[in-house]
């Protein structure tokens, strides 16, 4: 018999349709980590809802969590669709996948505005610096000067998803690399525990159009220039955290909204992910040194989410309300009419 998790589901029950992406595409690795996360966190697939825009990356929600609802929407417009949909049943957990083109080019406006509203969702940018699905044009995250055979030189300044998220006061910002399965997975877990928009910028190489060694979105470059901010691990709220006395000074824990915690063990740097401005500073420095920092970059656990702001009922999904609660009484209409001079 296949192994099951605590709610009795096999890992296969978290899968979706077979992928139609290229063999080796970073996006597939991320899909696998989403599957692993959901399995390991014992999530009920029916409690999850998936969103995406258009692109190779945005196709990927077909390839995980086949038992969850999902909406493959329009290019660059996933944030608005997710915002509206999340009002439907506020108990659902949203996992959204977008691409760098989908998010930073056509989707820049909606991306920035979803963070202002702190819509509760995991927002993964599968960042490869190009438009995969339309065959390799530069996206806004491509580094200035990147040269691609079919495209020439990229003349424009690049967008840094993480800096954008920090500037927009996003309440959870992380970066990872599709090649680092365990970091990706732990970060997704933490993101799921977060009450608000959790931005995950994941470098996810496009093996077909942008994986040559020099490119900042290639496996090779990323592996060589990556530095972890900390050793990151996620502890579900059901488990206790044990920290050696010896380690104490080296470890920081952050308590997530749902009671789980993330444990950050110090590596090279002293890094406090609850200080937004320091985060910007450290990142900026790393950029200048050509270092790609990964890990949990910023988190703010006490900001209200959009659903909190709109005071939705706690016990009943908005989409389960019926005529009784939705249509005011006949008397009220008379009252209103009498006000209509």
């Amino acid at each position: 018999m296949a192994k099951v998790n605590q709610i009795g589901l096999e890992k296969s029950e978290y899968r979706g349709a077979p992928t139609t992406l290229c063999a080796g595409c970073g996006h597939n690795s991320i899909s696998n980590q989403i599957i692993a996360t959901a399995y390991e966190l014992n999530l009920v697939p029916e409690d999850i809802v998936k969103f995406s825009g258009i692109g190779c990356s945005s196709k990927s929600p077909t390839y995980f969590l086949g038992r969850s609802f999902g909406f493959n929407s329009l290019h660059g417009r996933m944030p608005s669709v997710a915002t509206g949909a999340m009002f439907g049943d506020q108990s659902l957990e949203a996992i959204a996948v977008s691409g760098d083109g989908d998010t930073a080019n056509i989707g820049m406006g909606q991306f920035k505005h979803i963070m202002r509203r702190n819509v509760p969702m995991v927002y993964i940018v599968e960042n490869n610096g190009v438009y995969g699905l339309t065959k390799g044009q530069f996206s806004a995250t491509a580094e200035k000067g990147l040269s691609l055979k079919s495209q020439g030189n990229n003349p424009y300044m690049s967008v840094d998803i993480v800096m954008e998220a920090l500037t927009s006061k996003a309440t959870f910002v992380a970066r990872s690399f599709a090649g680092d399965a365990s970091q990706v997975k732990e970060l997704i877990k933490a993101a799921i525990s977060h009450n608000g928009t959790a931005i995950l910028d994941i470098i996810s190489p496009c093996v077909t159009f942008n994986d040559q060694a020099g490119s900042h979105h290639s496996y090779e470059w990323t592996k060589q220039h990556r530095e972890m901010l900390h050793d990151f691990s996620y502890v579900p709220f059901t488990e206790e955290i044990h920290i050696d006395e010896q380690q104490a000074g080296e470890v920081q824990t952050v308590r997530m909204h749902d009671g789980s915690q993330v444990v950050l063990k110090k590596l090279e740097r002293d890094y406090d992910p609850t200080d937004r401005f320091k985060a910007m500073q450290v990142l900026q420095q790393a950029n200048e040194e050509n270092i790609l920092l990964t890990g949990l970059i910023y988190v703010e656990e006490d900001a209200p989410s959009l659903m909190d702001l709109h005071q939705l009922p706690k016990d009943k999904a908005l989409n389960r309300f019926e005529e009784d609660d939705l249509r005011p009484s006949k008397e009220s209409l008379q009252m209103i009419s009498s006000l209509m001079f």
Partner: protein, 609 residues
Amino acid sequence: MTEQSLMKESSTETRVVNDFSITVATVNGSGSQTSNLTILRSLFKMGIPVSSGNLFPSNIQGLPTWYTIRASKDGYTARTETHEIVIAMNVATFAEDLAKVSPGGAFYYADHLKLDIGRDDIAVYPVPAKDLAKKSGAPSQLRSYVGNMAYVGVLAHIIGIDMEKIKDALDFHFKGKEGPVNLNFGVIEEAAKWAKENLEKQDPFYVENMEGMTEDCIMATGNTAGALGSIYGGVQFCGWYPITPATSLPEAVKHYIPGLRDKPELDGKTYAIVQAEDELAAIGMCVGAGWAGLRSMTSTSGPGISLMTEFIGLAYYSEIPVVIWNIQRVGPSTGMPTRTSQGDLSQAYYIGHGDTEHIILLPSSVNECFEFGWKSFDIAERVQTPVFVLSDLDLGMNQGMTEAFNYPDKEMDRGKVLWEEDFEKMTERWGRYLDVDDDGIPYRSIPGNRNSKSAYFARGTGHDDYAAYTEKPDDWEKNMARLVLKFKTAQEYLPSPVIKQKEGAKIGMIAFGSTESAIAEAQDILESKNVPADFLRIKALPLTDSVKEFIESHDTVYVVELNRDGQMHQILTVEYPKLTEKMVSLTKHNGYSLSAEWVVSELLKKEQE
């Protein structure tokens, strides 16, 4: 009444009672709205049918604006081409306003505008606006505002507005707050007194209390009515972006909904209203919400609709209910944002790339804005598609007299939705786009449904009966053919046209939306000229068969509309190609609402051809 005016009155053969228009020319932002509404409301309270039209510029302060009130004992509410009474408070348009007055009409003007009159075919009354404002003791920034009350008083005296009703109107306006009521009423009384002492009645226009026409009526704007209708329709999500003249609809939703829908026994709100960052996001949120099972709506105008094009196509093809109000203004492009139009009809009907078709509701009155406010949700959820409600600036923003709103006479129709228990009972395999009932309308499930068979992946890409991605030619064709069938089915859920007949009519008129009042009035005028004409008002698209029958049963049918190209005429031509010889297009499109005079004269011109 003074003796003098009494005398005058009895000597005036052509006494015109409750049947004329009053146009007030002011500067926008100068606070004339309270004055104008006070006149409007006091006439209404006297039992006189009234309507109003506000011709305002596309800025906030300092430009000319005209407010017209029509009093019509017969209940006509359309714009008229004549200006019996003009009140000139704006120096910039003084000459123009003076010229506008119909011969035999009356001209009131702020007496500090020391300008030449030079017309002797009209009655002329100065209004001591500045003096009275000064006397009122109001602080200086309020003077022009208070000054505007002066013309109310002078007018009230000259045409005989009931002072009690003026008080009522002010009471209403200031929600009973004594301070401002008294201040304003004081100025009005003062002005009336001044008029009594200083002016002599020289014109034939009077108002008198009357009965039988307005008792069951209320006064509201179409946008307020639409908002209330939406609330009674159970709106759960409203995503919107400000744009004239659509803004006041969602703002009214926001204003009224807490009082009507918040209940102590609920631990939260049953709705959410989000001002989006633009129209793409507004409709995106609405589509998301509609997909997630909420009654979702937006309100915008032409430019916003244009931006929503891609999303509306997605909603059509992925079959998501959403209600879209378009309060039309004059396009193309930014056009004239503060002028009225019926120019977005074809756009709404066909919007989107590829083959599409959309349901459109066409309210003609404030009351119908309320009705379509709730009905639109039933239709959208039943047919699983976007539903447009096409109102316009004239209907949406002007205070209009209307029958009191009717409480919805049907239970909510949430359409073919499957919840957990439905899936548990199900024996066959469910398909999101499977046509089980042969009516083209499939069954949908809603995110949050915890039954493991209920989930599907919604998409704007080619999909088969089971919502799976497909590029197969037959899948595509089958699905698109089902959509055609679905829109045929839709017809039975749409409001039918209304027909007003005239005896012996051989010709007909077809119109829709806010032009109804002008057409109905034109019908009466035509009858009096021995040209009886029937009138069919289209309430919704796609068309139902009775429209066809109406055309068939008349020699000529005039399709009258407020746009350049005769868009409804074009749609009728496409739908009824065999009847094209009978249809004649009559169009006007200059930003003004339709007048009966224009309809009559254009129609007679064509009849004579």
